[in-house]
């Protein structure tokens, strides 16, 4: 075996020249890029993962698409676009939540979590990497669904107009915050809690009025739904598709709620990570 290049030992920054100073923006970008590069490589190497990006969204679109065709025959044309729009935007929330959580779970499944935890990657950098990678998969999934919705049912997602951008942004941020909560639950309760990663987002489906206006909910649930960012998106989407203006006030409220959700999720993640280190639970993910 050959000899490793000798590193200077007189610097607190270690192998000077080999690495960027650990706290520099370049080092942070490089570490976040490391998380993204790893997940991109895993996606490239796994046809199953690529298949999954397309499979569930397409199944949902086909089922709901034919439901809407049936409703169209009943002479309720607005319902068609509202339901198809809801299916597409629901996927944004659903994928954003699942993809980030899966990125973390894959480190557990491959017993790689401790390897990552002993790198200089900070929790914020790790989460940023997972979030950036999830964007790739969300973009791919939504593009395919939108093309299919147009081809099969003549529904153009872009008919939502410029509001589509903030609608999707609000849903993605909410999805990411739910993923961080799910990850926190796994850190706190162990691998058995990973079911939360798949199911947490569905707790919000009835509350957010994805497929129906929240006005049909009982008053108590309606009050709660006002504190769900996605509620304002789906209500706004129906308003726009019904010929109304983009409800910027509701989007503003949703953005504020998103900030609160992310802040709470990150606080919870920090708390559970500290707890996992204190109780020795983090070590057990390597067993």
């Amino acid at each position: 075996m050959t000899t490793s290049p000798v590193m200077p030992m007189d610097s607190v920054e270690g192998a000077a020249g080999l690495a960027y100073p650990p706290l520099s923006p370049a080092a942070r970008r490089r570490r976040i890029g490391g998380v993204v590069a790893r997940d991109l490589a895993a996606l490239r190497r796994s046809p199953i993962r690529v298949f999954e990006i397309v499979f569930w969204p397409v199944i949902e679109l086909v089922v709901w698409g034919y439901v809407t065709l049936f409703l169209q025959a009943q002479k309720v044309p607005f319902i068609v676009s509202a339901l198809l729009g809801a299916v597409l935007l629901w996927q944004v929330l659903h994928r954003a939540s699942n993809e980030v959580a899966i990125g973390f779970l894959e480190d557990i499944w491959s017993r790689n979590l401790l390897n990552v935890q002993v790198t200089p990657v900070t929790p914020a950098e790790y989460m940023t990497g997972l979030v950036l990678f999830s964007l790739t998969k969300i973009a791919a999934g939504i593009t395919i669904m939108a093309l299919l919705a147009y081809a099969l049912y003549g529904f153009g997602l872009l008919t939502i107009g410029i509001g589509l951008v903030p609608f999707m942004a609000v849903l993605m941020v909410m999805g990411w915050s739910l993923a961080i909560v799910a990850i926190s639950c796994v850190l706190r309760f162990g691998e058995g809690a990973q079911v939360i990663a798949w199911s947490l987002v569905f707790v919000f489906q009835p509350l957010a009025g994805v497929f129906y206006p929240v006005s049909v909910l009982p008053e108590a649930l309606r009050a709660i739904s006002a504190f769900v960012p996605a509620t304002h998106v789906f209500e706004g989407m129906r308003a726009v598709l019904n010929g109304g203006a983009i409800p910027w006030d509701r989007l503003g409220a949703a953005a504020v709620l998103d900030v609160a959700y992310v802040a709470l999720a990150l606080w919870l993640y920090g708390l559970t990570l500290r707890h996992a280190r204190t109780k020795g639970r983090l070590s057990r993910f390597g067993e």
């Binding site: 490793s4 960027y20 200089p120």
Partner: protein, 243 residues
Amino acid sequence: MILEAVSLVKRFGDVRAVDGISLTVGQGEIAGLLGPNGAGKSTTLHMLLGLVTPDSGEVRMFGLDLAKNRTEVLSQVNFSASYLGLPGVLHVREVLNAFARLYGLRHPRKRVEEVIDLLEIGPLARRKVVELSSGQHTRVQLAKALINEPRLLILDEPTAALDPDAGDRIRAMLVRIARESGTALLITSHNMREVERMCERIHFVSAGRIVATGTAAELASDFGVDDLEEVFLKVAREGAVPA
């Protein structure tokens, strides 16, 4: 001093897993941490790596407090353990490339090729991790552990899955790295010959405490036995401490 652990204590419920362990490792030194299963070795290593927070005590590396300077410290440390995995679907080169980035290296691809040469794993570079034998996996783990040219390398049973030839070559390489680049090594192993050959200082751990420290010869002499294996048996079976 590269590593300085002072009075580390860790309890899990009623169990005192680590009970006041203090140790130091200097530049270029190869130190061993020995003891029976459940003695507290892995918990100690995990405290040194920031995976477990001590109830009391302090870990300092390169003059910095680990608890307050986690990113700076961990950028100069690395770790390999026989019980850890790597992302199975990735090619070996992709795994190393990802870790090179996680350590913030300026030229990750160049360094990846260097460690591939160093560990002689070129033929494995385009193979998926899941396809590797346990011995090959160990070599890739070690390549990962050297990716950032660490100033402190912590190895939990580094050669457990290697055949005698591969194990010997890896040991020789690790000793050479310590000598030539001044990397400090802290190793746990149940291979007493390995520890005798590599380690300049050995800490014997029993029931969460360091019960003896010295060279292999000093420890054998202190315990009144012939070699390190007999020291181990005395500590593990009789809870013996040196005379």
